[in-house]
Symmetry: C2
Subunit: 331 residues, 2 copies
Amino acid sequence: MVSINDVAKKAGVAKSTVSKVLNNYSLVSEETRLKVEKAVEELGYVPNSVAVSLSKKVFNRVGLIVDIRHNSQFVDEISMQYLTGAFEKAKEYQIEVVTFFSSQFDEMNYKQVTAYLKSQRINCLIIYNLSIENKNLYKIIEKQEFNCVLVDSPITNDRTSSVSLDHFSAQYEVAKKTLEENIYIDRVLYIAGGAGGYITNRRLDAMRKLQEELDFELIVEYGDFNEYKAREITFKNGEKSNAIVCASDLMAIGAVFALIEMDIYRPVCGFDGIRLMGYTKIAMNTVKQNFNLKSKQAFDELKKLLDGEKGQHTEIPYEVCKIDYMDVIQK
Amino acid sequence: MVSINDVAKKAGVAKSTVSKVLNNYSLVSEETRLKVEKAVEELGYVPNSVAVSLSKKVFNRVGLIVDIRHNSQFVDEISMQYLTGAFEKAKEYQIEVVTFFSSQFDEMNYKQVTAYLKSQRINCLIIYNLSIENKNLYKIIEKQEFNCVLVDSPITNDRTSSVSLDHFSAQYEVAKKTLEENIYIDRVLYIAGGAGGYITNRRLDAMRKLQEELDFELIVEYGDFNEYKAREITFKNGEKSNAIVCASDLMAIGAVFALIEMDIYRPVCGFDGIRLMGYTKIAMNTVKQNFNLKSKQAFDELKKLLDGEKGQHTEIPYEVCKIDYMDVIQK
DNA sequence: TTGTAAGCGTTATCAT
DNA sequence: ATGATAACGCTTACAA
């Protein structure tokens, strides 16, 4: 492995000088800069990131915490988009990232998690879909020992930013549009996410507002973002409701397939705008969001935190629409 | 951050002794071992993995190279399963992993790629679906500077193992089963993967064997594992063929949806057994494989290489079946 | 069995 | 503007 010493020797300077060139210090003559750059080029030298990380006073390494504990399978699609978005930004900013699955932290306590993260020199976190059961992560956010960006959880503090769409208005819009497309709506089944979750409550609020406005009976059941549960809930409550609003596309798919088996029709709408929707060939309203972009934005927010800005909330755009097979497969 | 020095101080021993305890050296008295372990426990000490990596003579860090350049979208599902499988094994073996997307290496030359990997202290690679265009990776495998495990590419040498199913017999079986379920088969459209790829060729061989046996005309088109291309190919050749065999489920879905639009029926079979299949509600034969398990097996093979074994080829099981919605959503 | 000290490849603080 | 040198946190001869 070619090291900084090799470069220094070849360029005929001290390794500290090489380091200065590499980190573009101002106080270095044009002549030596060229010598060093030539040596770097010729040797194909790339700094050892491990050594850099160990030696640097401030070194940023971000942990991406992805939640894949949902029983449903197609969280894959979303998680993968989150990861690719973050990876691209990481490359752009030249910041190292490490991927974790939140289930890894389940058996640990708060102290263990922080020790574990710090032992990997991680000082920043991007947490996707923080779930309410994860007490450790909540505590980490609260204690502000790490710079955090939360995707789809509305917590902010000095060192914590959040990025999400406006769950209230999005849920309101998609539900309203779906209900208004139909004539008699006097009883609506709302299949919510996980009981007590932030976004779940925000969306529930939206449903309650709509309920007041449109004056229907609202049945609320918790499907935990799980399509199988949504299916069961639909079997139980589908008949007596005349529309079903779901807090995720996956649950909406579960509901629609249940309805088909029950051989009844009810308008259904989802939330997320996953591509899987296109494959089911069921045209239903949903809230379409760009997960890749959301993740990139989260990274941008993280960068701001690293640059000394205080944590803030950022809202991202969404679109109420139907997911079409051709749109999904085209690109 | 609590370091090895803190532990040493607290336990009243030298830091080298702490290190010995941590790495379970034999020559350490029970008494000091206990003292050290107590201190570690009380301080919640976790070794700094960056420092460990820098100082260890042999330190294993594996790069997971995932290919997401396919235009088709649902490679997500497969890649994510690969990643989770590898991550679980990494935790089990206590080996660090770093994720890369192969597209990152596109603009680099061979020297740059190796320098880049080495600068991150990576000495092992698990390469998923090595595509034929990736000259750099081929050269890396050939030069044997890294321990490599290839998933679904049949190259092996002293430091390279491969893990895959038997593409020849799997393709043969699924195609045969599909064709035999139907009566008149005299012209078969085979939508292959990427021209020149290893697995593509193996599968083509299987189709040729079947062609000889069943005596039909074989039309071969390359769909590049892309569902859109498969769709176009089907529009062009679907009518004149009386069965379509596809080298991936995604292409099979593209073909079936095209057939539906053409309003004709042709038996179609796929390859991979992705869960997405269950959502399309189209029952078609496919080769089902467990990607998560395959990735785990690849990691096991990597471990063997690290333990000094020579590279070898391992075959994994598969099953010819149909993917059912209920199986997909149940779990 | 334990401790001392050199080394891993960098950065950063001093002198010069 | 450049070069020694100490530090980063750990492992590992080697000495005791």
